[in-house]
């Protein structure tokens, strides 16, 4: 199974292992008392998702202080997102974007989910990602779960060519109406002269 | 200007000057002089020193300048002069130009900036001239599908209507371009023409934003005409006459603003709405509907409409002064007559012997001072308020202001029947 480049792989089977020290994270550290227990708190959040859906469906990419990333299959996206919204309290999608990995022949679409209503996860971002093949990029839309993702998904459609099934308008948004070239954020689209 | 200028040759330069002089001499002698003679022949001139004034006698004024004084006196009292120059169009246009300049400077000082500065040696005083020249030189763009006759006629009608209002307003006793006995009704009838012009012009522009702007102009002006008229009605009740000169004379001891302050207030607010000044400049709301019904104006059409707008500012301020501030009433600070001055020669001309009338000059002075004061008051909200919304505007115009005018009318009636003002009243002077 192909994984995206990871910074610090955290194995979910050894929870007692302390995470490797991360000096850059210190530059923006929350107060000291949270630092040692932060991965545990985030790990608790992620393990709630895992315990609901099972280990095979949820692949954890990394768990860091204040940032978590899980990878799911496109077919399970809506269910997992609904669970995250209702049970964990992440109530809005901050941004939706995609990254093109031509080496794996896949496009990874990542939803950054944040929370405004719950104070203890106000600083946390849970990244919900999914991968789809480059040749036929189709994903279910999450606008029925997170209304804030509407325009972001539309932009991902035009920039990467990922079709969101169920989205009312998969159309040009930022690009000009007469754009007839490749989706610009794909790696084979080269800026002229570079 | 697609050619290079030719090299300077002195002979050509001298030749062009001689050519110019030749043309001036030809035109003056073959056209100008005969024209002057014909006019003087047909114009009924008064007798000078017992002699009939012939054109030759007129031209001998170069010898004795005081002979021109009766001529000037005569010209000043003709209708043409009254309409075109003195209490008429030129006077209004001059005051309008002064208003525009003062407005820009005044607002600028309020807004922490300077305003026009570079055009003209003293604080940008020639800015208006520069703007006028610029507007004349611009291309007039007419949108496709626009109704051309109305597109051209509407700005001219705008200025003409504003000038027509100016013609009815008395500046000094005896100095009014059109002395009609139903002066107030005539003023309001003419003012009722403005919404029609706005609507016609916006429709003729064949575009969406002017259309919305024209409708808003129509709603706004119609909503405020009724309080406008009703507030003036209280003044008519108190003075007992519809003639504007009589109204101004009737305010002899005390001005009507002391008796009818509510009416003055309503009149002022309604005139701000009629003039489309901030806070009532919805029909030209720049951020919502581009420039409203003026969107498609460019070049001289825009210039004419601006001129008409400011002439209207002068007209309505002058109307306020006549109705509420006693017109030309004020302490006599100019000498009644210029006594013991030399009466012959050039000095006589300069001191305007025979032309000077102390009462008139005093009246003109106070009238101008008061009008300029009211104009400054009208300029003030532009620096203070944001723009009002259409539904609040209509609510104010139709409900609140009409109620206030009715209250005021009762006050006026009470003053009359209580014997304080009106014929035989306590405070009426005779």
């Amino acid at each position: 199974m192909s994984q995206d480049p990871k910074n610090k792989p955290v194995d979910s089977t050894t929870p007692s292992e302390p995470p490797p020290p991360s000096p850059p994270a210190k530059a923006a550290a929350p107060p000291a008392k949270k630092e040692t227990e932060a991965p545990a708190f985030e790990k608790g959040l992620v393990s709630q998702i895992i315990s609901r859906f099972g280990d095979d469906k949820i692949k954890v990419a990394y768990i860091r202080p204040l940032r978590m990333k899980v990878n799911v299959d496109p077919l399970d996206m809506v269910e997992v997102a609904t669970f995250i919204r209702d049970n964990l309290g992440f109530d809005h999608a901050e941004s939706v974007t995609g990254t093109d990995y031509p080496k794996d022949n896949q496009i990874e679409v990542i939803y950054q989910l944040g929370s405004y209503s719950k104070d203890d996860i106000a600083a946390h971002i849970l990244s919900l990602t999914t991968r789809t093949s480059r040749d036929d990029a189709r994903l279910p839309t999450l606008i029925n779960v997170y209304k804030s993702a509407e325009y972001h998904e539309r932009e991902t459609f035009e920039m990467l060519g990922v079709y969101f099934e169920g989205h009312p308008r998969n159309e040009r948004f930022l690009l000009p109406e007469d754009w007839a070239d490749l989706p610009p954020l794909r790696k084979e689209f080269r800026i002229r002269g570079r | 200007m697609a050619t290079y200028p030719q090299r300077f040759r002195f002979g050509n330069f001298v030749g062009s000057i001689i050519w110019l002089i030749l043309w001036i001499v030809i035109i003056v002698s073959l056209v100008g002089l005969p024209l002057i003679f014909i006019i003087l022949f047909y114009l009924p001139l008064p007798p000078v020193n017992g002699e009939v004034l012939t054109p030759y006698l007129f031209l001998s004024m170069m010898v004795d300048p005081t002979r021109t004084l009766p001529i000037l006196h005569f010209i000043i009292h003709t209708d043409l002069f009254k309409v075109a120059v003195f209490p008429g169009f030129s006077f209004a246009a001059l005051l309008a130009a002064v208003t525009i300049f003062v407005e820009r400077k005044f607002l600028a000082k309020m807004q922490l900036r300077i305003g026009p500065l570079y055009c003209g040696k003293i604080e940008g005083i020639l800015q208006l001239l520069a703007d006028g020249l610029k507007l004349i030189a611009k291309e007039i763009i007419i949108p496709s599908g626009a109704d051309k006759p109305i597109f051209w006629a509407a700005p001219i009608a705008f200025v003409a209507t504003a000038a027509a209002v100016v013609a009815l307003i008395p500046v000094a006793p005896g100095w009014v371009a059109a002395d009609v006995n139903v002066g107030i009704i005539a003023v309001f009838a003419i003012l009722g023409f403005f919404p029609l012009i706005a609507l016609l012009f916006s429709w003729a522009s064949n575009s969406k934003y002017p259309f919305i702007g024209g409708l808003r102009a129509l709603h706004q002006m119609i909503a405020f005409e009724i309080p406008f008229f009703l507030s003036a009605l209280s003044v008519v009740i108190l003075s007992g006459s519809l003639n504007l000169t009589d109204i101004a004379k009737a305010q002899h001891p005390y001005w009507y603003i002391f008796f009818l302050p509510i009416s003055a207030f309503v009149f002022f607010i309604s005139s701000l709405a009629e003039l489309e000044r901030i806070p009532f400049d919805l029909p030209e709301a720049e951020s919502e509907i581009v420039a409203g019904w003026l969107t498609e104006t460019s070049g001289m059409i825009f210039g004419l409409i601006q001129l008409g707008s400011y002439v209207k500012v002068y007209a309505l301020s002058a109307l306020f002064v006549v109705l509420f501030l006693g017109g030309w009433a004020g302490p006599q600070i100019f000498p009644k007559e210029l006594a013991h001055g030399p009466t012959a020669g050039l000095m006589g001309l300069l001191t305007l012997q025979g032309l000077y009338n102390g009462v008139t000059v005093n009246a003109i002075f106070w009238f101008t001072v008061k009008t300029l004061g009211i104009i400054m008051l009208m300029l003030l909200p532009r620096g203070i308020s944001p723009r009002i919304r259409i539904d609040i505007l209509l609510h104010t115009g139709w409900y609140k202001l009409i109620v206030l005018t009715f209250i005021n009318m009762f006050i006026a009636l009470a003053l009359i029947y209580g014997g304080i003002l009106g014929p035989g009243g306590l405070l009426t002077a005779h």
């Binding site: 480049p5 850059p24 990542i110 971002i125 930022l174 800026i191 | 807004q111 720049e286």
Partner: protein, 387 residues
């Protein structure tokens, strides 16, 4: 009557004339509040108007789209700074701040303490510069020309400070990954404190002339109400969110750099209408003055302002997502690195783009005359939303 009408219609149609019946669509007028409009900025939205009420609104951004995200992949981490600050030219200290934080996390750079303070000062100055400009445009949208001139004039004070600090008025490229480019000049602290005291008096005058003006209150109170649940569900950010009753500020929720040592309150209001959305930036500006005073006070006297870096810094493969509170809201950068000096993917999550979704939500059902006050109160900066 009806029979007569139908008979007439039949007769006309026999003669070849078509009777056009009035349908619902005829009542609607489509207006394009387009880029060539004094009321919209570089942004276009199409609205359908029924009389004076808006029934449909469709935003159409993209007039200033320059492909910032794609351009980032062609330049290394430090070369990206000058073009990344172009989306918001006067708030450039914030949009590069977030980028620097993300790059520092990826590459593993520790910023010296004095550099962190100077970065925060530049961020607060630019926040004032942006908010004053926004306020000026809000004034002119409502027809208040004095409220356009005054903030623009007072903004010059802060731009002068930024000029003294970095050498350029706007788009100064002052932040780089690792700190700031240069140290503060002599006399900056006194000048800054003087300007802040003058500005706090001016804020009181703004309230007198604009915020307590009855015409302004009539135009904005109760207009375009965004409830708290809607604000959270739509994911809006910044002053729009705080005006709807959610006290969320990234400087408090997820303090970065030295903001955990600064004592300030998150300003918010509960009503969620245009008046609240216009008020919250004013309160933010007052709070920002307090923050600047504390920052100037607590800054270490001397020290490095920039970490020592290689000419083309690079770090291990990984990704980072960091956010900063800018004038418009949360500005986040998601950077993916594959071990080379150039980033693999940069995604900029801007407050304006996130707030755009509130525009159709609020405009539909409101009056056309309310359009400027609703639209600009959403703190939408078109250039930034297009990137």
């Amino acid at each position: 009557m009806e029979k007569n009408l139908e008979h007439q219609i039949d007769e006309s149609e026999k003669l070849g004339m078509q009777i056009v019946k009035e349908s619902e669509d005829d009542r609607l007028m489509t207006l394009s509040v387009g880029p060539q409009h004094p009321g919209s900025g570089h942004f276009r939205f199409t609205i359908k108007v029924d009389g004076d009420y808006v029934v449909h609104c469709d935003p159409d951004p993209g007039y200033v789209h320059r492909g910032e995200e794609k351009m980032c992949e062609y330049r290394n981490f430090i070369q990206n700074i000058p073009h990344l600050e172009r989306p918001v030219i006067h708030d450039s200290a914030n949009i590069t701040y977030s980028y620097s934080l993300a790059v520092e996390e990826l590459v593993g750079i520790q910023v010296p303490r004095r550099g962190q303070f100077i970065r925060a000062i530049a961020s607060e100055l630019d926040r004032q510069i942006y908010t004053l400009y926004w306020l000026a445009i809000y004034g002119i949208f409502l027809g208040h020309s004095t409220m356009f001139m005054w903030p623009t004039g007072d903004r010059e004070l802060f731009i002068d400070l930024m000029d003294a600090l970095s050498g350029a008025r706007v788009t100064h490229a002052f932040n780089i990954p690792g700190g700031v480019r240069n140290d503060i000049p002599d006399g900056f602290k006194d000048k800054c404190l003087r300007h802040i005291s003058y500005f706090e008096k001016r804020l009181k005058e703004y309230e007198d002339i604009f915020y307590t003006n009855p015409l302004f209150i009539q135009r904005t109170e109760g207009v375009g109400i965004l409830t708290k649940e809607d604000a959270i569900g739509l994911g809006v950010t910044g002053s729009v969110l705080r005006a709807s009753g959610v006290p969320y500020d990234i400087r408090k929720a997820e303090p970065y750099d030295v903001y955990n040592e600064i004592d300030f309150k998150v300003q918010y209001m509960k009503s969620g209408d245009s008046l609240a959305r216009a008020y919250v930036p004013l309160l933010d500006m007052k709070e920002s003055c307090h923050i600047m005073r504390q920052l100037l006070d607590k800054m270490p006297e001397s020290g490095e302002v920039r970490a020592k870096l290689q000419p083309t810094p690079k770090g291990p493969p990984g990704e980072a997502y960091r956010r900063v509170e800018s004038g418009r809201g949360a500005l986040g950068y998601y950077i993916v690195s594959d071990g080379s000096p150039k980033p693999y993917r940069v995604k900029i999550s801007v407050g304006s783009f996130r707030n755009m979704i509130a525009l159709p939500h609020l405009l539909v059902g409101s009056k056309l005359a309310d359009m400027p006050s609703v639209y600009w109160s959403l703190n939408y900066w078109p250039v930034e939303a297009d990137r």
